[in-house]
C-alpha cells in the first residue's frame, strides 16, 4: 500500500496538467482533489461502497480506451473482482508500479476526452457533492460521475462479460457428466450419502460368504464392509437399469433391461453368466425384436465360461 502512495505522488501533477490543458474553464482545485481521492480510494482498499461504484464504472472504461490487452486484465484483476480484491493487495505491491500506471493514465485520458460531455454541466453539481460530503465520501461521488460518462465508449469492446463467463467454464465439465463411468470416479473424492437406508442383513451376508468352502473365518467388520459394497453395487446397477428403461420409454424395469445395464460396464462382466440364463428366457417369452442383448449373450458365453474356470470352486457350492 505504501508503494502505491509513493507511486501516485509523481502521477498527480500529470492529472492536473491534463485537466488544465484540456478544459481551461474547469476549476482545477475541485478536480484535482477528485483525482486524488479516487486513487486514495483504491489505496485504502476494502470499502464495499467504493467497490460497487468502482466496478460499475471503471473496468468498463478500461478496455475501450486501452487497446493492449495486457493492461486490461491487470486492471480488472486488481479492482473489478470483489473476491480477488482482498487477495490481491499483497501481490500488487510487487507488480503494481508497472501495472498500475497505464490504467491511471487511461482513466485520465478518457476523462479529458469526455470533458465536453459532462464536465461543463456537472461541475456545479460535483462541487456541491464535495462541499457537503466528507472527504471519504468523495471517491464514491467521483465514481458516480464516471459511471455516467463511461458506458458509451465501453460498449463496443465488452471484454468484461467474457471474462466473467470464463470463470464459469471450468465448472461446466463437472456438471455435464452423463457417462456412467465418470460418476463413480467423482465419488472417490467425497462419499456420496447413500440413497438407501435399509441395510442388508449382516448375518445373511456372512452366510453367503461362508457358503464358499474355501472361505474360512470372517472378521466381524467384514460382512459389514461387504454389505456396504453390495449396497453401492446395487445402487449403481438399479440406476443403470433405470437409465436403460428411460431410454426405452418404459416405466417398468424388466429383467432384459437389467441385463442390458449389466452389459454396459466391464466390472459387471462377472454377472454375464447369470444374466445369460435368465435374460434370454424372459426375452424369448416377452419380446422378440431385441438384437442387442442377444449379441451380448454370445460374448457372455465365453466370458462366463472363463470366469467359471477361474473361480471354479464356489459355483458348484452355491445351489446346494
Amino acid at each position: 500500500m505504501s508503494t502505491q502512495d509513493s507511486s501516485y505522488a509523481p502521477k498527480s501533477p500529470d492529472l492536473s496538467s491534463f485537466y488544465s490543458s484540456a478544459t481551461s474553464d474547469i476549476p482545477q482545485d475541485h478536480n484535482v482533489p477528485g483525482g486524488y481521492s479516487f486513487q486514495a480510494g483504491i489505496g485504502a482498499g476494502p470499502g464495499p461502497h467504493q467497490y460497487s461504484t468502482y466496478q460499475s464504472s471503471v473496468p468498463s472504461s478500461v478496455p475501450s480506451s486501452v487497446p493492449p490487452p495486457t493492461s486490461a486484465p491487470a486492471y480488472g484483476s486488481n479492482d473489478s473482482n470483489n473476491t480477488a480484491f482482498s487477495t490481491y493487495p499483497p501481490q500488487s505491491t510487487t507488480g503494481q508500479q508497472g501495472q498500475y500506471f497505464p490504467p491511471r493514465q487511461q482513466t485520465q485520458f478518457v476523462q479529458t476526452n469526455q470533458s465536453p460531455y459532462i464536465l461543463q454541466p456537472p461541475p456545479n453539481h460535483s462541487t456541491s457533492y464535495y462541499s457537503s460530503y466528507p472527504e471519504s465520501a468523495s471517491p464514491a461521488a467521483y465514481h458516480q460521475l464516471q459511471a455516467q460518462l463511461q458506458p458509451q465508449p465501453s460498449r463496443p469492446q465488452t471484454s468484461q462479460p467474457p471474462a466473467a463467463s470464463n470463470q464459469f467454464n471450468p465448472s461446466d465439465p463437472q456438471n455435464n457428466m452423463p457417462p456412467r463411468k465418470i460418476a463413480p470416479a467423482a465419488k472417490q473424492n467425497e462419499i456420496e450419502p447413500s440413497p438407501v437406508k435399509t441395510k442388508f442383513p449382516t448375518a445373511r451376508i456372512k452366510r453367503i460368504m461362508q457358503a464358499d468352502e474355501e472361505v474360512g473365518k470372517v472378521a466381524q467388520q467384514t460382512p459389514i464392509a461387504v454389505g456396504k459394497a453390495l449396497e453401492l453395487f446395487m445402487v449403481q446397477l438399479v440406476r443403470k437399469s433405470a437409465e436403460v428403461a428411460r431410454e426405452k420409454n418404459s416405466k417398468r424395469i424388466t429383467a432384459p433391461m437389467l441385463k442390458q445395464a449389466i452389459g454396459s460396464a466391464n466390472e459387471w462382466d462377472f454377472l454375464q453368466d447369470i444374466v445369460a440364463k435368465v435374460g434370454e428366457e424372459k426375452e424369448g417369452g416377452k419380446s422378440s425384436g431385441r438384437t442387442k442383448p442377444e449379441s451380448d449373450s454370445d460374448e457372455e458365453g465365453e466370458t462366463g465360461e472363463v470366469k467359471k474356470k477361474g473361480r471354479g470352486g464356489r459355483k458348484k457350492k452355491a445351489p446346494a
Binding site: 465419488k187 462419499i191 449382516t202 448375518a203 472378521a219 446395487m234
Partner: protein, 147 residues
C-alpha cells in the same frame, strides 16, 4: 446377531432350497424403491428383482472369494476388512472403497459404545478402592450372617 426375520417374508418357496444363500426379497425390494425416486415413476419388475438378487449374491461370492485369495496370500486365516477393500480394488470397484471404510469404521464405533454400555465396572462410576471397600463390607456382612 439373530436371524434377520423382520423384513423376511415367510414364503414357502423361500424356505425350500437355497433361501439361506439368497437375500431377503422384501429387503431388496425396499432398497430398490429407495434407490428409484418416486418422481421417476419407475417400478422394478418381479423377475428383474429376482435377477438383481442373484446378481447381488454373485457379487458377494465374487468379492469374498477374491478377498479370501488375498488373505491366503497374506497367510491370514481370517478375512478382514482390509482384504475386502483390496478385493474391491482388483475387481474394479475401487470407487466403493471410501464408503466401505467409512461404514466399517462407523460399525467399530457403535461396537465400542455397545461394549462400554455393557461394562458394569465402568458404569458404576466408582474407583477401584471404593469397589473393594464395598466388597469387603459385603463379605463381612455375609460372614456375620453365617456365624
Amino acid at each position: 446377531m439373530g436371524r434377520p426375520g423382520k423384513s423376511d417374508k415367510w414364503d414357502p418357496k423361500d424356505c425350500s432350497g437355497s433361501d439361506d444363500l439368497s437375500l431377503p426379497k422384501a429387503t431388496v425390494q425396499k432398497m430398490v424403491t429407495e434407490i428409484l425416486p418416486a418422481s421417476s415413476g419407475l417400478s422394478f419388475a418381479k423377475e428383474a428383482r429376482d435377477l438383481l438378487i442373484e446378481c447381488c449374491v454373485e457379487f458377494i461370492t465374487l468379492v469374498s472369494s477374491e478377498a479370501n485369495e488375498i488373505s491366503e496370500k497374506e497367510a491370514k486365516k481370517t478375512i478382514a476388512c482390509d482384504h475386502i477393500t483390496k478385493a474391491l480394488e482388483t475387481l474394479g470397484f475401487s470407487e466403493y472403497i471410501p464408503a466401505v471404510l467409512e461404514a466399517a469404521a462407523q460399525h467399530k464405533e457403535t461396537q465400542k459404545v455397545r461394549e462400554k454400555r455393557g461394562n458394569k465396572l465402568e458404569d458404576s462410576g466408582m474407583t477401584m478402592e471404593q469397589l473393594e471397600q464395598m466388597q469387603r463390607e459385603a463379605l463381612a456382612e455375609a460372614r456375620q450372617k453365617f456365624q
